[in-house]
Amino acid sequence: MKYLDEFNDPELAKKLFADIDRVTTKRWAIMEVCGGQTHAIIRNGIDQLLNDKIELIHGPGCPVCVTPLGGIDKALAIASLPDVIFCSFGDMIRVPGSNRDLFQVRSEGGDVRIVYSPLDAVKLAEENPDKEVVFFAIGFETTAPANAMSVHQAKQRGITNFSVLVSHVLVPPAIEAIVDAEDSRVDGFLAAGHVCSIMGTWQYGPLVDKHQVPIVVTGFEPLDVLEGIRRVVIQLEEGRAELENAYPRVVSEEGNVHAQTLVAEVFEVCDRMWRGIGEIPQSGWRLAPAYREFDAELRFDVGAIDSPESELCRSGEVLQGFIKPNECEAFGKECTPRKPLGATMVSSEGACAAYYQYRRLDGIEVEVSAGG
C-alpha cells in the first residue's frame, strides 16, 4: 500500500481502514464539504486506499471555487478604479475573471494588495485617508467572523473610506440543496470541522432529521477524515441517520458564541449564487442594513456584471459527484491550475486542482504544456 506510511500514524491508519472494510457490505457515496478535507483525501490517496464499495464525492467545500465569476469580475472592476486600494486574501489573486485576474490588474497599475487578516485592510484604510480601501470578503462561516469584525471595527472607529465586497456562503443550505436534488447520489456527509468550530453542531441536527442522512463533523487531517468516514459507514450499515461529532478537540455543540453574535449583528442571510451549482436560497450572508454603508457594491457603481461560465466546464457535475474531475474532457488540456476554466480548478483546495496536482502522474493522462 503505497500511501499508508505517509500517514503520521500508519498503524492507526491501517486499523481505521481495516475497521471500515470489516463493516462495509453495501455501496455508499460519502461527500466531504471542506476543501481541506478534499485536499487531504487526494493527497493521501484515501479514496484509493478505501475498499471499492465506498465512493468519496468532493463537494462544494472551497469558498474560492464557489465564488461566482460575476463576483470576481465585479472585484476586478472595482480594483481597476483610480484611488482604490483593493485588498484580498492571497488565493483570490490568481482566480481568473472573464478576461483577467487581480494580479493583472495590479500589473496594469491597479493598487491590489494581499492581506492576511481583514483587520490589515482596516489598518490600510486608516493609514490612507485619501484612498478608498475595499476588502473582498469571501468565505464560509469560518471566515465570516473575521470579515464581520473588520466592518464592525471600521464603524466603531468612524473609518469612512473602508468597504467590503461580500460573497459569503453557508454550508447547511448547500448540503440541503445537494440532498434535495432529484438525482442526488450522496448517502452521508462529512461536515467541515472548522465551520463547526464557529457555528457549533446545532445547525445540523434538523438537517439529519429532515433528510434522514448521517452527518459526521470531521477535521481535515488525514486520520480525522478516515475516522469521519468510518463513523458515516457504520451509521449507514446500521441503518441509522444521526449527527456525530468526530472532531471534539475543536468543535462543541454551541460553537463560538462570541463569533456568532457579531456575525448576526453585521450580516443577514440572503440568496446566493454558487459557481458551478447555481443559486441556492438563503445560502449566503450580506451586510445587514445597519452596516450597508460599508457595502462596496453600493459605493462603487461598476454597472451590471453578468458573466457566463465556460461551456466546456463541468464543475457543477464534479461538485455533485456525477463525474470525477478527470472525466471532464477539458481536464489537464484546456483547463489547468494556470488556466482554469472552472470553479474546481481555481484553488488548490478544489477537486479538479487537487486531482491535477496529485493524480496527474498516476495513470490519469493529461497533456502538460510548457506553461502549466
Binding site: N8, C34, G35, G36, R43, G61, C62, P63, V64, F89, G90, D91, I114, V115, Y116, S117, P118, L119, D120, G139, F140, T142, T143, P145, A146, M149, Q153, Q156, R157, H194, S197, I198, F220, E221, R249, V250, V251, N256, H258, A259, L262, E349
Partner: protein, 90 residues
C-alpha cells in the same frame, strides 16, 4: 485560506478596545485578534484562521497539527508569509 493553524499565545494586549495577541506558529509570529476567545491566557494554544483565534486547542494536538503543516510545506502559505520572511523568522 480554508485551513486554520494552531499556535501559542505569547502575549496579550488591548488595541483601542480590541483584544490582540502575539501568536507563535512554530517560529513564525503574527498579530492575532482574540475578540472571539476573550478568556484565553498567555501560554495557551489556539487555532487561528485569517488572523483570528477561533478555538482553543490542547498542546499535543497543536504540535501534531503544526508538524503536519511543516511537513507539507504549507505553513508559510497558510500564514500569508513570503518565504524569505519565514526563513528569517524561523
Amino acid at each position: 485560506m480554508c485551513l486554520a493553524v494552531p499556535g501559542k499565545v505569547m502575549d496579550v494586549r488591548d488595541d483601542r478596545g480590541t483584544r490582540m495577541a502575539t501568536v507563535n506558529f512554530d517560529g513564525i509570529e503574527k498579530e492575532i485578534c482574540l475578540a472571539y476567545l476573550p478568556d484565553i491566557a498567555v501560554g495557551e494554544y489556539v487555532i487561528v484562521h485569517v488572523g483570528f483565534a477561533i478555538s482553543r486547542l490542547d498542546e499535543d494536538s497543536a504540535m501534531e497539527t503544526l508538524a503536519m503543516f511543516r511537513e507539507l510545506g504549507i505553513l508559510e502559505e497558510e500564514l500569508g508569509v513570503e518565504s524569505s520572511e519565514a526563513g528569517a523568522a524561523s
